[in-house]
């Protein structure tokens, strides 16, 4: 698959996420619920607009893609079934599928390891930060 144009990426995000950004009514309940709100540069209630406008590159290179905790609070509470968490996760996957998009390098690991670190943390981080 190649990502040559913006429409293609927008379509991919819609397909991967299975969610329809046009349903968003900007109520902001996602941003109100998000535990990572302050860590994010693009806020959850803005995800839909970025995709509608086609500003996918910005979303892909945003901090937000790596700051979502996948805690599903926004998905559970979204009154419009837009599920911003799914949109940003799709963006994260697109970023990872592109060359050099990984957020975690193998060399980093030893430094980050702690004695009592559970395997779950490692596998989750790998799932979330790398292809």
């Amino acid at each position: 698959m190649s990502f040559t144009n913006v429409e293609n990426q927008v379509e991919l995000i819609k397909e991967i996420s299975g969610s329809d950004p046009y349903k968003c009514m900007k109520c902001g309940k996602c941003s109100a619920s998000c535990p990572s709100y302050n860590e994010m540069d693009i806020k959850p209630h803005q995800f839909a607009s970025y995709i509608i406008r086609g500003d996918v590159d910005e979303l892909l290179s945003s901090k937000s893609a790596w700051k979502c905790l996948s805690c599903f609070a926004c998905i559970e509470r979204c009154p419009r079934d837009v599920q911003p968490g799914k949109l940003v996760d799709a963006a994260r996957q697109l970023a990872e599928r592109q060359r050099g998009g990984d957020h975690l390098q193998a060399d980093e690991i030893p430094e980050l390891l702690a004695e009592d670190l559970p395997q779950q943390l490692l596998v989750s981080a790998f799932r979330r930060y790398r292809r």
Partner: protein, 666 residues
């Protein structure tokens, strides 16, 4: 052989933009029976109708096909037009080339082709049409209003003032409805009971109005002008005629202090005794015994109320009573409730007594309410200093398990009202309203909302709240995002008020089914036409008033109630109604008296009689079906059930429908 005229309407550009009208005229000109075909800009206009009348006379037309909008729109118009020219109105058929063709198709060629086919089907049908004559049925000059809230009260008063008898059926012990629970009303801040109570009293005293409170509609049969309605008068356990409304029984009921029976009227913020009136100004001022909770009914012991009643009005033996009354028209004014908030756990409504709904706030601010009008938290009875309002809780919600897809319409305004009333009484209170959009269309409405901001300094923040978290210190932490400032907010509050979505009264579905009145996915009653017939149900003789039809505020409800009343009066003013001539007919030569048709007829319109027939010289007595034309509503159930093909429906006969099928499949 018919002489048919075909008239194709442009409907301005509504049809002509997508259907080649001229071509349709050319294509149908040589269909069987067609002697004249023409097109015109607006067929329904006076000039258009004039054209039809001229053609009928000039070409001696015996049948008409109008290719235009839906027959549900203008069939009546064109039938009347035919009648004017001396043609039987039932010789008219409408081909729906607007709603079913030009409005939904883009490709002109394709749409034109379809329009021709639809016209052909109508022409084929008219070839088989026969003149039909409408029957007449009498009108019972009495109306029923279901629901005794402000909508039902206003409708009943208007009908009664016009000189017709009207009954109100209300399932609660008193009329008054939701409005009687409110404190003040927007946008003028009059006290709700000050403007409602006089109307309630007027209803009670009006010679033309009969009240059935604590009663429910149980059964409906009949049709427009002639409904038979069974009303269940639930046992009040108090003799209506003897009770003076002194209220002694209510103060002495032992359960009043220890019963823990939540008052429905006070939304559970206060308890009530087992023998009770919902509120002090109840109409009628006669208490009822809540048999489910009453100690006497549960254990056979107690009997205090009967003992102390000075007029010996308490009657434990009273039974439910069912009365059947005839009506000419029925108005549904069943009102609304707010949705259950169990699915909105994030707002901690079930967890914290200090998270309340707006209706509960109405009660808390009402001088006759559980706190005597002093605003206090239910947890510690302290006056709240910081109050947060959350809008759209369950409104505009796409998740049907949780909420409703529509805007509840009144919340923005009543929230501004609440904010201002609180600030008026307790100016030190800090009020924050979290909104998605502030919607204030209406006369003096936006000014009202702006006053809350400009004069009362109510803090409006755009952004739906994410979560309300009860804190160890008894406060509530409200987590939200200010979307315009781009900040996440955590704000402490003493009280949180939820603007819960409005939904039609849950009982309305049962009533709609009994009335065969159509109802939408959200349980709002459907109007006959969204714009032109907004207070009528598609079912003849059924009218709509108030929230049962859709969210609306009090001024709108009152206007609609008046409009429904006018429609009812218009109906009752007639002595006779024309009946639908499209009724079933039995071909006695084919009928073998099997009773299948009578079993499926919903109106009991089919009876049997013995006739003498001469079958090839053999004289015999045969049992055959007979249709009572006054009862038959023309559904045609008998026609498809009849095993011998003896039953047929005038206006939609087997041959007519078959020929339509043939024309479409040609």
């Amino acid at each position: 052989m018919q002489r048919i005229g075909v008239f194709v309407c442009h409907c301005g550009t509504n049809i002509a933009a997508t259907v080649d009208v001229k071509k349709v005229v050319e294509m149908v000109r040589y269909e069987q029976g067609v002697v004249f075909a023409d097109d015109y800009m607006y067929m329904c206009s006076e000039a258009g109708q004039e054209k039809i009348i001229e053609a009928i006379k000039e070409y001696k037309l015996t049948g008409l096909v109008i290719c235009s909008c839906s027959p549900r729109m203008h069939e009546k118009t064109f039938r009347a037009c035919a009648e004017k020219a001396g043609l039987n109105p039932y010789m008219v058929e409408v081909a729906n080339i607007r709603e079913q063709c030009s409005w939904i198709h883009k490709d002109k060629e394709e749409a034109t082709k379809k329009a021709v086919i639809l016209a052909r089907a109508a022409i084929a049908k008219v070839n088989l049409n026969t003149p039909l004559k409408e029957g007449e049925s009498p009108v019972t000059k009495r109306a029923l209003v279901i629901g005794g809230g402000i909508a039902g009260i206003q409708t009943a008063l208007d009908i009664a003032d016009a000189g017709y008898e009207v009954d109100i059926v209300e399932k609660e012990p008193s009329i008054g409805g939701r409005m009687s629970q409110f404190d003040k009303t927007f946008p003028t801040l009059d006290c709700a009971s000050c403007i409602l109570t006089p109307k309630m009293v007027e209803v009670n005293q009006h010679p033309n109005i009969t009240l059935y409170t604590y009663s429910e509609v149980e059964k409906v049969s009949g049709y427009v002008g002639n409904f038979d309605v069974g009303i269940r008068k639930k046992a009040r356990s108090v003799d209506f005629d003897k009770c003076t409304g002194c209220g002694e029984c209510m103060t002495k009921c032992p359960l009043g202090k220890i019963g823990h029976i939540p008052s429905e009227f006070d939304r559970g913020l206060k308890n009530r005794p087992a023998i009770y009136m919902p509120f002090a100004q109840a109409v009628p001022a006669v208490p009822v015994i809540d048999r489910e909770n009453c100690t006497y009914f549960k254990t056979g012991k107690c009997g205090v109320c009967a003992k102390i009643c000075p007029s010996k009005a308490v009657d434990y033996e009273q039974q439910d009573e069912i009365v059947t009354v005839k009506y000419g028209a029925i108005v549904v004014a069943t009102g609304f409730d707010i949705i259950n908030l169990d699915k909105f756990g994030e707002y901690a409504y079930n967890e914290s007594p200090d998270v309340i709904t707006s209706i509960e706030l109405e009660r808390l601010m009402n001088a006759a309410g559980p706190t005597g009008g002093h605003l206090e938290r239910m947890s510690d009875h302290k006056q709240p200093k910081d109050i947060v309002f959350i809008q759209c809780v369950g409104s505009r919600c796409d998740n049907e398990e949780k909420g409703k897809p529509y805007c509840s319409k009144v919340c923005c305004m009543y929230t501004a009202k609440h904010a201002m009333l609180i600030k008026d009484h307790w100016p030190d209170t800090n009020i924050t309203v979290f909104y998605i959009d502030v919607r204030t269309p209406g006369k003096n409405f936006d000014e009202f909302y702006r006053r809350a901001v400009e004069q009362y300094h109510v803090n409006y923040i755009k952004g739906q709240v994410g979560k309300v978290m009860p804190q160890p210190d008894g406060s509530l932490l409200v987590q939200a995002a200010d979307l315009l400032d781009g900040k996440q907010i955590k704000m402490k509050a003493d009280m949180v008020v939820l603007a819960a979505a409005i939904e039609p009264n849950p009982g309305v579905r049962k009533i709609a089914t009994m009335l065969t009145a159509s109802i939408d996915n959200n349980n709002f009653l459907t109007e006959a036409h969204a714009k032109l017939r907004p207070v009528e149900s598609p079912t003849a003789g059924i009218f709509l008033s108030g929230m049962a039809q859709g969210p609306k505020d009090i001024p709108e409800t009152v206007s609609q109630a008046g409009a429904a009343a006018v429609k009812v009066v218009g109906l009752l003013a007639k002595d006779k109604l024309k009946t639908n001539p499209c009724t079933a007919q039995c071909d006695t030569l084919l009928c073998n008296g099997c009773s299948t048709c009578a079993n499926v007829c919903p109106y009991g319109a089919i009876t049997y009689e013995d006739i003498q027939v001469n079958d090839h010289g053999l004289r015999e007595t045969r049992r055959v079906a007979q249709v009572n034309l006054a009862l038959c509503q023309g559904c045609g159930a008998c026609t498809s059930a009849c095993p011998s093909g003896a039953m047929d429906l005038q206006g939609f006969s087997n041959r007519q429908i078959t020929t339509e099928v043939d024309a479409i499949c040609r």
